[in-house]
């Protein structure tokens, strides 16, 4: 795309025509609803009419002690949910990828498939299956622990406020660990053999080779995985809803922004839906995710060193 030498050129219509379908579809199903939500959050229904109230909904959400308590609780839980994924899912994903890419591992295709399969399962199946596994009444978890004499370690994890969110986080990790594993695995495979051979000639092998050669080369992939995890976690809803319901029990211990949004927007049981406050929450979720992605794009990604072979 060099522009030197050509001062005048014809309008290149074909670019617009080729872009049009994607732009139109994307605008219709993503951009317009997004702005619709932002707009809805600036209104409030008073006497069956939508009245413009400016940022009043946001003031209620962050200023009213009850709304803000629920909001910060949900944000805090959401952050913990994200931390679990960053601390467990991604390091384990890298570990599995490193093991899988080892040429000496047998049955690697089997392991790869087995670890990846949960990713393609529906949230409903995963939530329901784990709920049954962990059920104190019919679950196999208490029996399995009993078989090795550790029954005392069993607790109704999903029903205890102090464990429920961590348990759900780990279930989600179990489901999605295949994605970082596959991305890192692909990145590891794309490292040219010459680089590794050169390293071996210099006496860098085994673990040292992983830390000094491979890891720096896959850092951009790790960055992408982190940001995907961030966006996915802060948009999460399905798993909590299918296992704990919209009230995100016990005692709101598993309430994340998605379930808080759902309860507010659509209402729950006797609570009527409030699309305006719901949109305010959705807008804040959008801003939080936007902020996170921006920090990554401008603060981190530009500083990552890339290597070309």
């Amino acid at each position: 795309m060099s522009t030197t030498g050509i001062s005048k050129r014809r309008v290149r219509w074909h670019i617009a025509i080729f872009l049009a379908p994607a732009v139109l579809v994307y605008t219709a199903i993503m951009i317009i609803p997004l702005f619709g939500t932002l707009q809805l959050s600036l209104f409030r229904e008073i006497d069956q009419k939508q009245i413009f109230v400016g940022l009043e909904n946001f003031r209620t959400l962050l200023g009213d002690p009850r709304w803000s308590e629920t909001f910060w609780n949900a944000l805090g839980n959401n952050s913990w949910f994200f931390v679990i994924h960053m601390l467990v899912q991604n390091p384990l994903g890298i570990l599995f990828a490193a093991l899988l890419s080892s040429p000496r591992l047998r049955f690697s295709a089997f392991y790869r498939t087995a670890i990846f399969v949960p990713t393609i399962l529906s949230f409903v199946i995963v939530g329901f299956a784990w709920k049954l596994i962990l059920s104190p009444l019919w679950g196999i978890a208490p029996n399995m622990l009993d078989a090795v004499g550790l029954k005392s370690l069993f607790a109704p994890w999903l029903g205890k406020p102090e464990y429920a969110l961590t348990t759900l986080g780990l279930i989600s990790v179990w489901q999605f660990i295949g994605i970082p594993m596959m991305l890192i695995y692909a990145a590891l495979l794309s490292i040219p053999d010459e680089v590794l051979e050169a390293a071996e000639c210099d006496g860098i092998t085994g673990m040292q080779q992983f830390w000094k050669i491979k890891l720096p080369l896959i850092l951009p992939s790790i960055g992408i995985i982190s940001i995907l995890t961030f966006v996915g976690n802060f948009n999460a809803f399905d798993l909590i809803y299918t296992t704990q319901g919209a009230l995100a029990g016990p005692n709101y211990a598993t309430d994340i922004l998605g379930t808080f949004l759902y309860r507010t927007f659509f209402g729950f049981q006797l609570q009527l839906g409030d699309p305006n406050m719901g949109s305010a929450i959705a807008s804040l979720m959008f801003l939080i995710i936007l902020a996170g992605v921006s920090i990554y794009l401008f603060g981190i990604q530009t500083r990552l060193r890339r290597y070309q072979f």
Binding site: S135, P136, G159, P161, G249, P250, F266, G267
Partner: protein, 419 residues
């Protein structure tokens, strides 16, 4: 995601509904409902009975999932694609629909004459002047017990709370049965089958409920926190890991014969009859002291109204009048034992368990759930908070006094009579 899926669903149902209308030559009435469990009964019993009497009117029963019903219905009404007849939740959910102009008033319908004012209270404006749904049925709370287990252990039906706890102690000591089947995972069990079940005996039914609405009573008063103290004692009699036990878990636990007592709502009767292979009995919530007057929750639960924008208003009115008739009351009460007719007709019911439940109407005072009328209008929502508080109290993570205080503060934050 949910939003998108929902609108697709709505679009699809709109198209299907309009196709249906275009093909039909007679008036076709579509009923919106959350009772998807009853689909079979509507199609095989209720609708044929109506259509036989009213040729020229066809009826379609199109239920959606209970948890999604309110949201789906509101979206459909706003989009103008909702059915002609709308099953009404009691109180504010339906009142809001009436006020938004979605439900037509039914005050002057012939069939409305057959209902008492208590029956109509769930679907009236606050001043009681306009009704917008025809009452269909109420549900009664109480306890269902495993008769075989009681006989085996030589227990008699408890009449007072002390007797209930004595019986539970005995069952626990015996060890063959889990004394009580309930979990706190879904939260609403704790509130609906727990707090709202035993509570009326403490706050004296309607008397306390109305005093709470008028602001004379506070939720921190003893009559409102005492039921929580009793609930807190239930903890020792529930199954292992009840914290993660869900509503279907509790149902299965009882119908498989593993538990002896089940805090229940009468809607369980038909399901339990099909599943349990032991004899069942029922007793009303035991009174705190021997000789106390007894109160039961006889909650107006389900009604049916007319979409204000329906094109088949005459046919819809015909149907609503029929809902008020003795024929419908008898059909419904016998097809769905546990949903008791709210009309003044005397209905003969065949099911012994349902007979037992309905007999309490004669000896105890009826009331409805305390949080449903007016008090769940604001944020925080008193009903939802009660779920949370009841589950917390049973789990032991919140004291009854703290729960009462939290609910009172929440209610006072938006409800003028309590400020």
């Amino acid at each position: 995601m949910t939003n998108k899926a929902m609108s697709t669903l709505l679009l699809a149902s709109t198209i299907l509904a309009s196709v249906g209308l275009a093909n039909a030559q007679d008036a076709t009435l579509t009923i919106e409902s959350w009772r998807n469990d009853d689909l079979e009964i509507w199609q095989s019993k209720i609708i044929p009975a109506f259509e036989a009497k009213h040729p020229g009117i066809k009826v379609k029963f199109t239920p959606s999932a209970p948890a999604e019903y309110n949201g789906v219905l509101n979206s459909k009404l706003d989009a103008g694609s909702a059915g002609d007849l709308i099953t009404c939740r009691p109180f504010d959910a339906s009142l809001a629909l009436y006020e938004a102009g979605h439900l037509a008033p039914v005050t002057d319908l012939e069939g409305m004459k057959n209902f008492s004012s208590v029956a109509k209270s769930g679907w009236s404006t606050d001043d009681g002047s306009v009704q917008f749904c025809v009452p269909m049925a109420s549900v009664i709370h109480g306890f269902i017990y495993n008769k075989d287990a009681f006989d085996e252990l030589g227990l008699s039906v408890p009449a007072t709370e002390a007797e209930l706890f004595a019986a539970l102690d005995k069952i626990k000591a015996d060890g063959n049965y889990i004394p009580m089947a309930m979990g706190t995972n879904d939260q609403w069990e704790a509130a609906t089958m727990g707090y709202q079940n035993i509570g009326p005996n403490y706050w004296k039914g309607e008397e306390g409920r109305l005093a709470l609405i008028s602001g004379e009573h506070k939720l921190t008063d003893e009559v409102w926190t005492k039921p929580y103290e009793t609930l807190a004692r239930w903890k020792d009699y529930l199954g292992d890991g009840f914290e993660a036990q869900t509503y279907p878990d509790s149902q299965n636990m009882f119908t498989l014969g593993r538990a002896a007592v089940y805090p229940a709502g009468s809607w369980e009767i038909s399901g339990f009859n099909n599943l349990a292979d032991f004899k069942m009995g029922a007793f009303p919530p035991p009174v705190p002291n021997a000789g106390d007057e007894c109160y039961i929750s006889d909650h107006t639960d389900i009604a049916i109204g007319m979409n204000a924008k329906t094109e088949n208003a005459e046919a819809a009115k015909t149907f609503l009048n029929w809902v008020g008739s003795e024929e419908f009351a008898s059909l419904y009460a016998n097809a769905l034992p546990g949903f008791f007719s709210l009309s003044d007709h005397t209905i003969a019911m065949d099911d012994p368990l349902a007979q037992e439940f309905v007999s309490w109407r004669g000896k105890c005072n009826s009331t409805i759930r305390s949080t449903y009328q007016i008090l769940s209008r604001g944020t925080p929502n008193l009903e939802n908070e009660t779920w949370n508080a009841s589950a917390n109290v049973i789990r032991g993570s919140e004291s009854p006094a703290d729960a009462g205080k939290r609910l009172q503060d929440g209610l006072a934050s938006w409800y003028a009579p309590h400020q």
